[in-house]
């Protein structure tokens, strides 16, 4: 039988496209020849919407972008806006922001490990990851009153101070995490089937990765030492002692190991921040009507999924004239075709999972 190329539509309704993503696949039997992601099913016109909102009103809207890591979105936006307006955030506020975003990174990575494992058929890890993530979400609920779209940051700092009860809660959460990570590692890291599915799959050259704008754990798994927390520290990240885990083989297995190690580093960062939490204000005085002098700015942070940046152009009113968002999921998705070409159809799901995309951020 002669093999013929067939076109296969994956999604937008498919169990493992992580939302409403549609992939146009060209396959020859089981081998992938090409992929074209079709995005936009979740488009809500966020960037346009923001032009009619005040800066204060935009912060909770950013929660809805990458809803797995909403605090990171808040941080990227408020940092850009503060930089443009020249607001100085007190040290205590910066530390609390670090604690919150690192906890969010942990929650996001735990969800990622679960989704990734579920895509490869290990459904149990999904539940383990989510159970641990739940403890972090419980803390967010305690602190800010919400679990998923937390709105935990404000312009100028954080809305609430960390009480001793809060810090005790965080420490309890952190104490529970290493056991979960160990469980996950015991189920996956040495597992022969897991290794067969991940080692050598989804390879991308470091040069190509840079060219395609790949950022985040996937780039670091390719061996490129690029972590904005280290390179351009924001929020006093220079105060903390942590290492940036790097991979060598640029495959799914390395991306998995890098993320696991990042979680351990995040636990250590939160512990350091809690130990050295400075006294003082947690929020700078920011006027209700937050007017920003005309100008433009771009600021980016290391979000769990990669480099998350906001470009803001102000016209002197309390509303921005234009905001452009550099979302890591959208840009990381571009290298999907490069990683998948020549691999098997079954790998597409795994590779897509390894990029850690969230459709709220891709479609905006």
């Amino acid at each position: 039988m002669a093999f013929e190329e067939i076109e296969l539509n994956m999604g937008p309704q498919h169990p493992s496209t992580h939302g409403v993503l549609r992939l146009k696949l060209r396959v020859d039997n089981e081998v992938v020849l090409g992929i074209e992601p079709v995005v936009g099913y979740l488009h809500r016109g966020m960037e346009k919407l923001w032009e009619s909102q005040t800066y204060h009103q935009i912060v909770p809207l950013t929660d809805r972008l990458d809803y797995i890591a909403s605090v990171s979105n808040n941080l990227a936006f408020v940092l850009a806006a503060e930089k443009l307006a020249g607001v100085e955030v007190p040290k205590r506020g910066q530390y609390i922001r670090v604690i919150l975003t690192e906890l969010q990174r942990l929650a996001s990575h735990l969800a990622w490990v679960g989704f990734m494992a579920n895509d490869i058929g290990a459904g149990t890890v999904l539940l383990y990851g989510f159970e641990a993530r739940e403890t972090i979400l419980d803390f967010f609920e305690d602190y800010a009153g919400a679990r998923l779209t937390v709105h935990a940051l404000r312009l100028g700092g954080v809305p609430y101070d960390l009480t001793p009860e809060n810090t005790a809660h965080i420490r309890a959460v952190l104490d529970g995490l290493p056991a979960v990570l160990k469980d996950i590692e015991r189920l996956l890291t040495g597992n022969r089937i897991w290794k067969q599915r991940t080692v050598g799959v989804g390879f991308i050259k470091a040069d190509d990765a840079l060219e395609y704008g790949l950022t985040g754990p996937a780039l670091r798994a390719a061996g490129v030492d690029w972590d904005i927390r280290k390179r351009h520290p924001y929020c006093s990240y220079e105060d903390f002692d942590f290492s940036v885990p790097l991979g060598r083989n640029s495959d799914l297995y390395d991306r998995y190991l890098v993320r696991l190690e990042e979680m351990r580093q995040s636990i250590s960062i939160v512990r350091q921040a809690l130990d050295r939490l400075p006294e003082g204000d947690f929020r700078a005085k920011v006027p209700r009507v937050f007017k920003v002098a005309p100008g433009e700015i771009f600021h980016s942070i290391e979000a769990p999924k990669g480099e998350l940046g906001f470009y803001i152009r102000s016209n002197g009113t309390d509303k921005p004239e234009r905001i452009k968002m550099k979302s890591p999921s959208f840009i990381n998705l571009q290298s999907l075709e490069l990683m998948c070409k020549g691999n098997l159809f079954a790998d597409v799901v795994a590779i897509l999972g390894s990029l850690d995309i969230v459709l709220g951020e891709i479609d905006k």
Binding site: H14, E30, I120, G121, A122, I193, W194, R197, F345, V348
Partner: protein, 342 residues
Amino acid sequence: MSPFVAELLIPVFKILAIIVYPMVMVIVMIWLERRVVAWIQGRIGPNRVGWQGILQPFADAVKLFFKEDIIQVNADKFLFNLAPVLVMASTLLSFCFLPLGEPIRIGTYELKLWVAESPVGLLLILGLSSISVFGVIFGGWASNSKYPLMGALRSVIQILSYEIPVGLTVLSVAFVSRSMDLVEIVRRQESSHVWYGFLLPVSFVVFWISGIAETNRAPFDLPEAESELVAGFHTEYSGFKFAFFYVAEYAHMVMISSLLVVLFFGGWLPPFPNVKFLHFLHLLPGFIWYLIKIMFFLYCYVWIRGTFPRYRFDSLVKLVWKWLIPLSLVNLLVVALLGSVL
């Protein structure tokens, strides 16, 4: 006992029983799987319908019964309808040859706990399981849709590949017991004082792995790999036809576990059936021993599903052609050589 009862009523009753028995096991199995997987994953699982959710499968069946039965416009109607029937019928038929327990004496009449006794029962079971492959490929082909087609192709390659090691290991059992009759194989295990699982450990392991693969269960559940192919060959099926595939899969699991028990773990025999001071083990009827043993293997199915990721298609095929088939060939050779020497 009057000949009327012996010749007519009892066979009819047996035929009914052999349809009811797999169904009951399937219901127990569906419940057990949900609860055990939930327990492994730190969830609770269904616990509302009946005691500990034991009636949940009935609730599911009622739901499926009332669902709309969809046949898409482009489907081949005849094959589309035939496929689930074929899968279900071939699986249920194979239970006829399965000895569920030792014969019960009622006066002069001997009630046999199997429907049909055939000198080639083992071969017939393997043949029937091959027929269910037709159901799978008809289902995938007749749906006239891409995902089911790919799922069906994968299933066919998988099931056909894994039938070879199954056949070869079964052959080694037949060689040792000098019979293809399942009842006879159990009796030989009694008279030779050893269960074949201990005599032929390689055959047992190969048969077990291949059995899991043949039933399309995790970690070999590629044909219905949810994360890639949605639901594999039965993606387009709904309502009761879907239920047929679903039930047949579980019935097949019960069948493979039963075969494992009969071929390698002495069927209805209690442990050490010939040891004098352990004779009290005979107090439990053979059927109960058989149930205990198959429940163990059914539990293993669930346990494995809760633990392992899924194989990829190419490594799955590599596993069978590079490892299991050569291994079972060598095993057969060794068994044959040793058997003729000893």
